[in-house]
Amino acid sequence: MASPVEQFKLKPLLPLEVGGLDLSYTTSALWMTITVIGVTAFLTLSMRGGRLVPGRWQSMAEMSYEFIAGMVRETVGNEGRQYFPLVLTLFLFILFGNLMGMIPYAYTFTSQIIVTFAMAFTIFVGVTILGLVKHGTHFFTLFFPSGTPIALAPVLIPIEVISYFVRPVSLSVRLFANMMAGHTMMKVFGGFVVALGIFGVAPMVLIVALTGFEIMVAVLQAYVFAMLTCMYLNDAINLH
């Protein structure tokens, strides 16, 4: 029986090597492409009519838009407006990547730590630069909020600094671990279904439940990622 983590192996579809680096178009890249097409189709085809009274697809596109717009407005405020397309793209990219990964035989690129880490790290660096540019050295008050007794500084500042620099790790590991764990779990129970023969009905039922749970996790993790991005943006723009 193949290992349950076998599914995360990448298959190169179009070999490509540039300057000694392997940049092959793999299954992960294929599903990123499908996600890009899927998100674009979802947002544009549904709005093609632009009807005053929206249909089902148009409603969903508008709801995604307003959901993220509301999130940005509430966490970042008015200054967050210009980052709205970025947060919307992030949310939909992760959401569609997670959800499409639930299709049998599909590849879930968000189960790759390097993908989630690249996104989280970029956000972290971008947000830090934004904060430094906007507030200069004043940005470092983020590590020591005003109104805190000075005696707490030796304790508080290291904690704040560590928690700040751990952000890209926690942000990326959260998404990666959730996706990997879910898919591994499904694979393990799928193996039980085959191994147990007729008694495989029991793990089968469990898999049905797990699938529902996984879809919820897929949506939730996309939401959490977008929400945390908004909070980091807020920290950088408004300093708490």
Partner: protein, 204 residues
Amino acid sequence: MRANFDSLRSVARRGIVATLAYGLGASLSVSAMAAEPGEAKLPQLDIQTYPSQIFWLIIAFIVLYFLVSKIAVPRISEVLSEREERIADDLDKAETLSKEAEQVRAEYEKALAEARDKAHAATREAQEAAAKSGAELEAESHAKISGMLKDAESRIAAARAEAVGNVRSVARDVAGDAVSKLIGVQVAEAEIDKVIDATMEARS
């Protein structure tokens, strides 16, 4: 919106706890698998795949970002603002219409009140006029009747005086004639008058 947001957050919190517990179980099973001899380690930790994944992630994300920010977002916001405008327009229109209706109603009520007042005034006038003319008529007829009564009374009194006068002259003639016939004496008229007066006085 606030409540909605809070409930979403609590769902998220619960979900995170659940997924953490769930992930722990899964990673235990993963490490159990990994412990088997001959099994490869996690494919995600294979550094060889990183350049390709980062490369395609950057391309995919940038392409998607441009598609979303340049095409999708303007389109959706256009539709949304159009709808908002339309709704605001409709609300405005409804407000003006209701204001107009209110005005019409006020005018109608005013007209109604005026008409009612006029009707009241007309009724009162008619009543007053009727009462006045009734009183006049009554007074007139009263006066007429009393005039007629007076007339009649005076006529009766005249007739009576005449009748009494006639009786006196007849009585004088008869008495004078009777005396001359009986005793052949001419009695002076004055004498007879005296007697008649005395008699009539005694009788009446």
